[in-house]
């Protein structure tokens, strides 16, 4: 979707403000927000693509006014309601009022280290040969789906060159909607600054994205 999250090339956000000796967390609640998000995700009711799509579906005004952990929590409340673990009554009361759906699993403290060390690999076998080869010129598709996609707006309808042929990966556009993993091969595609930004672009700039095969057409 053409949502507030798709930020590449937007302007007006002011300078980047790095902090000296930045702390890992800036408030106690951020620690709990991280942990609640990860432990709730570990129930296995939704995948990472659905959670990303929920975050980018926040109203743009809300998205831009929120810190990243705030975005996580606001999206998590919606995911938990969509999957019937939490109700509006529960949230209004600030405690459990209604019954909940049954999770696939509950992540216990003693299993956290192993779960984090394992992660969630999303490479998948794909059939057949790669459609594109390193060095080949391609054009990214120009589409504007209302659902989730990982092709950013600034890189749609642009000419690029295949820089690397990767493995097959879960296709987020499908997986986010609960329509299955439908893995596709991923390619690193590199664009010149001039192709992306036109007049006045930095002549020494190249930008690459990682694109699923169906985002690309031969050029």
């Amino acid at each position: 979707m053409n949502g507030p999250h798709d930020l590449g090339g937007q302007m007006g956000f002011g300078p980047v403000t790095p902090e000296k000796d930045e702390r890992c967390f800036h408030a106690e609640w951020e620690k709990r927000a991280l942990g609640v998000t990860l432990t709730a995700g570990a129930m296995g009711a939704w995948n990472i693509d659905e959670s990303r799509h929920m975050r980018e579906s926040l109203h743009p005004a809300d998205y831009y006014a929120s810190s990243y952990y705030e975005i996580w929590i606001k999206a998590l409340e919606r995911l938990l309601q969509r999957h019937r673990f939490v109700t509006a009554n529960d949230l209004a009361a600030g405690e459990a009022v209604d019954s909940a759906a049954t999770p696939k699993r509950v992540l216990k403290a003693e299993n956290v280290s192993a779960a984090l060390a394992k992660g969630g690999p999303c490479d998948r076998p794909v059939e057949g040969a790669a459609h594109f080869a390193v060095g080949q010129r391609v054009r990214t598709r120009n589409f504007h789906p209302t659902g989730h996609t990982r092709l950013p707006r600034y890189a749609r309808g642009k000419m690029g060159v295949i820089d690397a042929v990767r493995e097959g990966f879960v296709f987020p556009d499908s997986n986010a909607q609960g329509n299955g993993e439908n893995p596709q091969r991923v390619y690193t595609v590199v664009f010149s600054g001039a192709e992306l930004w036109g007049e006045g672009a930095d002549p020494m700039l190249e930008v690459s994205i990682d694109a699923w095969e169906s985002y690309l057409e031969p050029a």
Partner: protein, 203 residues
């Protein structure tokens, strides 16, 4: 102005603190999460998984050409050989700065970041200013970090739009011949592994 940035401070009145606490309470009461698991997650990223991991990878790549070659070909396996695996580091790529090219990593669409080697991303990495500007004006971003590159140096920006996670291997500073890996790792900053900084100079 006492508070010139947008953090929320930790006190009873903070609405986000109350909101997160309510959510944790509800999920705990329903038996859906284990609050002790949250403590372990927080401890992991506060004390165990952070940019020291990545610094060790870079220092080894500087010291050991065979390891550097492996890191270039199969970063996930090379990094795993040092014990760094897992969440948001499942599919790693290492990109090497050179005399010709400087690499910079961003996630314009969300906050993708190589947790297994750098830990949790800093606030600025997830914020709109960096995500919007890195792909169109990386030299301007670098200036905000106090970094100026030669105008004829190529800049390659890697937008982490899929599940590959990028680690920048900065150039090894001059005057570090004969240094051991532990000493070298001290020169490797987090920002130098994102590309918003360079490795520290040898003192």
């Amino acid at each position: 102005m006492a508070h010139d940035h947008d953090h929320h401070h930790d006190n009873e009145l903070d609405p986000m603190a109350a909101r997160v606490k309510a959510l944790e309470t509800i999920l705990t009461q329903k038996g859906l999460i284990d609050p002790a698991a949250i403590d372990v997650i927080v401890d992991t990223y506060e004390t165990k998984v952070g940019p020291r991991n990545g610094a060790r990878v870079v220092a080894k790549a500087w010291s050991d050409p065979e390891f550097a070659g492996w890191l270039k070909r199969d970063a996930t396996a090379a990094i795993a050989s040092l014990g760094y695996t897992g969440r948001q580091g499942e599919h790693m790529q290492a990109v090497f700065n050179s005399d010709e090219t400087h690499n910079l990593v961003v996630c314009t669409l969300c906050s993708c970041y190589p947790w297994s080697v750098l830990g949790l991303p800093p606030v600025w990495y997830k914020a709109p200013a960096y995500r919007s500007k890195a792909v169109i004006d990386p030299r301007g971003v670098l200036a905000e970090f106090g970094v100026t590159l030669a105008s004829d140096k190529k800049i390659r920006v890697w937008d982490s739009t899929a599940e590959l996670r990028y680690l920048v291997v900065p150039q090894r500073p001059e005057g570090t011949q004969g240094w051991g890996e532990v000493q070298l790792a001290e020169l490797v900053t987090r920002d130098s592994m994102i590309g918003t900084g360079l490795a520290r100079e040898a003192q």
